[in-house]
């Protein structure tokens, strides 16, 4: 598996490293960079929505064509929106939880020395970075970034410049970037699955896996099957754009007074292929956060996860059912109403394992002894946000109600609550929990708690009002609200959300200060600061290059043996001897 010697030299150790821990950190910082970009884009969007005619000097400098005179044009708004969604979904939510924490901790939690294929692992990170570079480059080409949303529906995305600014080279670069990302994702999936199946140490049976490992495993399977389909869709779209095929573009189209040459394609075909990937994608975004939450609730409530087996089945069902519900993104698309009914029942079904997990989290806390560390606060916050975000899905999963709510802010509120907040809280929780292990230092708890409370209240303030806007019928993807009587009345809500966004974004500065300051000056971390039970807490902080120092751990206990009656202390580590009272 590994060479006998640790890697030497700066490049080998920190740049082109084969060490899953270094690669995990690289993914994490890639995600951190991406989230700053994505968040900045969203602030620009929120500013424009409530100040559509504002003249802002540096807009004109950055975007001389798209913001002439410093006024953001609608097409610029839409391109910012497209890139916001794309960067957040792919380069934040699909990297940090899996490529970041998963890469770092999966091998350690199963007692392995590294991932099954270290070279492939390294390649997966660098390929992701290339994909990000290509994506960001779309901002800088003629016409700028595409404006068709992260969902890129053709014909808008399939007919080139005629459809609007950014639809030329910008859209092509977007597709190419995503195709590259699909490749990177596939490489990652191969590693995660092979590692989990084949490299578990002695005693680490499947039913003794920490729930984090289960979520990383199922997430990898979702990615494996889903990204391949996205890649196929992307190839078809590029062919339509560049080689005159008509997979997605029908005949009889006139755009900008030009009659197009295409014939016979189906815009719905793109939607089916995209959402067949797209729905599993959102579970890829949330499952690792669920695993982290389970792990942290057990650790900080000093109590085993309530219903471990049920949690595993819930993860597996969510993964499986996740492939059967993609049509709920297409209720209004013109597809068969019978299909809509089938997808609706399946969508409601997937609410059941999600509910099981929520009840089990509360059940884990019940009778516990809760320590309110920052990590725990974020895990608790995850549960609250997941309840809120999940419940709004009950409205959207019914085609009858979707007749009004499709493409309104109700949808925007729903997915931001789940992905833009709950999933992010999963990442914050993971950060505060694992930072001591990864960097050998503790993060600052005071700063962490202030950051948590500001963020928790802030995100509720930003995203809850979106549900009310949805009820009032506010359509999404509008660059401003000055053209409709009924929208003008809703402007105060948008102003409120914009200010909440500024506040919450500002609060993130506390997190960055905490992160970077603690890297250098945090208190030195012991091996097991949280008195937790899983394997990563049996090795030094930070771990040696081969994790277990050449030893092969042997596991004798389940992952969450807290507060076991009769045991000498209130936690039994997985590698503790079978008889914990033995010397």
């Amino acid at each position: 598996m590994h060479a006998h010697h640790a890697p030497q030299g700066f490049i080998r150790k920190y740049v082109f490293s084969l060490d899953h821990k270094v690669i995990g950190i690289q993914y994490y910082f890639l995600a951190l960079f991406s989230v700053v970009v994505g968040m900045s884009l969203s602030l620009l969007m929120r500013f424009h929505m409530v100040n559509p005619d504002a003249k802002v000097g540096w807009f004109g400098t950055l975007w001389p064509t798209a913001a002439q005179g410093g006024i953001m044009t609608p097409e610029l708004y839409l391109s910012l929106m497209t890139m916001h969604g794309t960067i957040m979904v792919f380069f934040v939510l699909t990297t940090a939880p899996q490529g970041g924490f998963g890469n770092y901790f999966l091998p350690i939690q199963i007692g392995a020395e590294d991932m099954a294929f270290p070279v492939l692992n390294m390649l997966s990170f660098w390929t992701t970075l290339v994909a990000l570079a290509v994506m960001v480059s779309a901002f800088f080409v003629e016409g700028g970034a595409p404006l068709s949303g992260w969902t890129g529906y053709p014909p808008l995305s399939g007919i080139g410049k005629l459809a609007g600014p950014g639809e030329g080279l910008g859209q092509t670069l977007w597709i190419v970037s995503i195709a590259i990302f699909c490749g990177a994702s596939l490489m990652g999936a191969i590693n995660f699955i092979a590692t989990l199946i084949d490299l578990r140490c002695q005693g680490m049976s499947l039913m003794r896996l920490p729930l984090t490992c289960w979520t990383w495993f199922v997430t990898a399977i979702l990615g494996l099957l889903g990204f391949a389909v996205l890649l196929a869709a992307g190839v078809l779209l590029i062919l339509d754009r560049s080689l005159g095929t008509s997979f997605f573009i029908p005949g009889g189209l006139m755009v900008s007074d030009q009659i197009l040459n295409h014939k016979g394609g189906s815009p719905l075909l793109w939607q089916h292929l995209f959402w067949f990937f797209g729905h599993p994608e959102v579970y890829i975004a949330i499952l690792p956060g669920m695993g982290v939450t389970s792990q942290l609730l057990a650790t900080f409530a000093r109590k085993a996860v309530f219903g471990y087996r049920a949690m595993v089945y819930a993860i597996l069902s969510i993964g499986f059912l996740g492939f059967l519900v993609w049509g709920h993104h297409m209720f209004m698309s013109g597809m068969s109403p019978y299909s809509a009914m089938a997808f609706s029942v399946l969508t409601m079904a997937i609410g059941v394992p999600s509910a099981i997990k929520t009840f089990n989290w509360i059940g884990t806390l019940w009778g516990g002894k809760i320590r309110f560390t920052t990590a725990m606060l974020f895990a608790l916050g995850f549960v609250s946000l997941f309840i809120t975000g999940g419940l709004s899905g009950i409205f959207l999963g019914q085609p009858a109600l979707d007749l009004y709510f499709h493409d309104t802010y109700f949808v925007v509120g729903h997915f931001h609550m789940i992905m833009g907040v709950a999933a992010i809280f999963g990442m914050f929780a993971g950060t505060f929990y694992w930072f001591p292990k990864m960097f050998g230092r503790m993060m600052n708890e005071t700063l962490g708690k202030i950051h948590f409370y500001c963020t928790f209240v802030g995100v509720y303030a930003i995203f809850t009002p979106m549900h009310y806007l949805g009820i009032a019928g506010n359509p999404r993807r509008y660059s401003d609200f000055t053209n409709f009587d009924f929208l003008g009345k809703l402007l105060p809500v948008h102003v409120f959300m914009t200010h909440a966004a500024y506040f919450t974004a500002a609060a993130q500065i506390l997190f960055f200060i905490n992160l970077f300051w603690s890297l250098k000056f945090g208190k030195k971390a012991p091996m097991n600061p949280w008195e937790a039970t899983t394997l990563e807490w049996t090795i030094p902080s930070p771990p040696p290059f081969d994790n277990f120092g050449g030893q092969h751990p042997v596991v004798n206990h389940g992952p969450y043996e807290y507060s076991v009656p009769g045991a000498p202390r209130d936690f039994i580590m997985q590698t503790d001897p079978v008889d914990v009272h033995a010397e």
Binding site: H2, A228, G244, S246, H557, P559
Partner: protein
């Protein structure tokens, strides 16, 4: 037993043998990944490939069924030759593996090299098929049936290229007499991938002949 979770369903895997985590080099990506992991990795890769072709197939079926402008495409005749060449290459790889099992290294070298060469010939033949279509005025945008033909053969060709690199790698190692026991995994994994891509080709031929 206080504290332990319900009894294990899966027997825990045996600890790694012979040298454990340090075992010698080899394996197509270096640093000697264990055989079992390599097999799992291969299965995962095949699953993804299957999904990609499944997606294209569904696009094919949908597109064919929904409009009346589909004109069935006549396969260029060389495609039959290419199919035979590909099947032969798979056969030769299998003969190579049999030789290796009975220790006949030179037999392995001969068969494996022949199989690799035929694999390369397949690609050349596919390029010729494309050329023939071009000359007959059938391009990628001419008709949905030709769009799919070019798309599917190109995608398949990319996979052949990937497989071919693995075959070439193994061949070079064999000819340099560097095919130790650890590299057997590389032999098996490349051969299995190759057979799978071969199978995809047969599937595509059926698709073209029955529906194209």
């Amino acid at each position: 037993m206080p504290g332990s979770v319900t009894s294990d369903i899966i027997k825990p895997p045996a600890p790694p043998r012979g040298g454990g985590f340090g075992g010698g080099g080899g394996g197509p990506e270096g640093w000697g990944a264990s055989r079992r992991a390599s097999m799992t990795g291969l299965m995962v890769l095949l699953a993804a490939t299957t999904m990609a072709f499944a997606a294209f197939t569904s696009a094919f079926v949908v597109r064919r069924g929904m409009s009346n402008d589909w004109v069935d495409m006549r396969l260029p005749r060389i495609v039959w030759v290419n199919t035979a060449v590909l099947l032969a290459s798979s056969l030769l790889l299998e003969l190579a593996r049999r030789s290796l099992k009975t220790g006949r290294r030179s037999g392995f070298n001969r068969y494996w090299t022949a199989g690799t060469v035929l694999g390369g010939l397949f690609l050349v033949g596919q390029a010729m098929a494309w050329r023939q279509l071009n000359q007959a005025g059938i391009f990628v945008s001419s008709n949905p049936s030709s769009s799919f033909f070019y798309l599917l053969t190109a995608t398949h060709g990319v996979h052949i290229l990937g497989g071919l690199s693995a075959l070439v790698y193994v061949d070079v190692q064999a000819l340099r007499l560097r095919l130790g026991p650890v590299k057997r995994t590389a032999v098996d994994v490349s051969a299995m991938f190759w057979h799978f891509v071969d199978g995809i080709w047969l599937y595509l031929m059926v698709l073209f002949l029955v529906w194209g």
